[in-house]
Symmetry: C2
Subunit: 110 residues, 2 copies
């Protein structure tokens, strides 16, 4: 589409069902390196395909990506980069049992 000249019009599209997949979970953060340290403290390794401004963690078939919150808001045409209250989103890792929750916390604290 973007390769088409200005004024190009499209024929009627054949509808296409998207695969049942999300490829990226994009998180806009204040400080990308500091947020990356949070995930690295879990023992997670970043993907070599990321960079200092776009840190990727491969989650097995998709990736969590950390980007600058201001840039993300701008790309998303949001009138503001700040938010307040309850975002209503959680990324949940299920431990195998309750004791493992404590063990994982102990690991993350270093």
């Amino acid at each position: 589409m973007l390769a088409q000249p200005v004024g190009h019009t499209f024929d009627a599209m054949t509808p296409l069902a998207p695969s049942q997949r999300i490829h990226l979970v994009l998180l806009g953060v204040q400080n990308v390196p500091r947020s990356a340290q949070f995930y690295e403290a879990l023992g997670w390794t970043r993907s070599p395909t990321g960079n200092d401004g776009f840190v990727k963690f491969n989650m097995g078939g998709y990736a969590i990506c950390l980007i600058n919150r201001e840039d993300f808001a701008s790309d998303a045409l949001s009138p503001t980069a700040t938010g307040s209250g309850f975002a209503g989103v959680a990324l949940i890792h299920l431990a195998r049992n309750a004791e493992d929750v404590l063990r994982i916390r102990a690991f993350a604290r270093g």
Copy 2:
């Protein structure tokens, strides 16, 4: 842990690195059936392990789960269930090319 009697104390924990996986992406929504329709309009099918109050879409190794926003905020000990501004989170499906974006939109519009 929860199976232990009140007053039980734990020995020093052996730290455990969690696997590099997120198992659930939890989305708190105003109206679970209506939000479920959004994903079903993409041709996605809900998991039989969910129910009307907790709709799950298996994404291949993890699941997107829709729950009542008020209940979610309460479980998360949030002082409010509402939010405003920019949440800073996006779930991104990558189409293979720009034309497929239009085709997927055409599909979702029905």
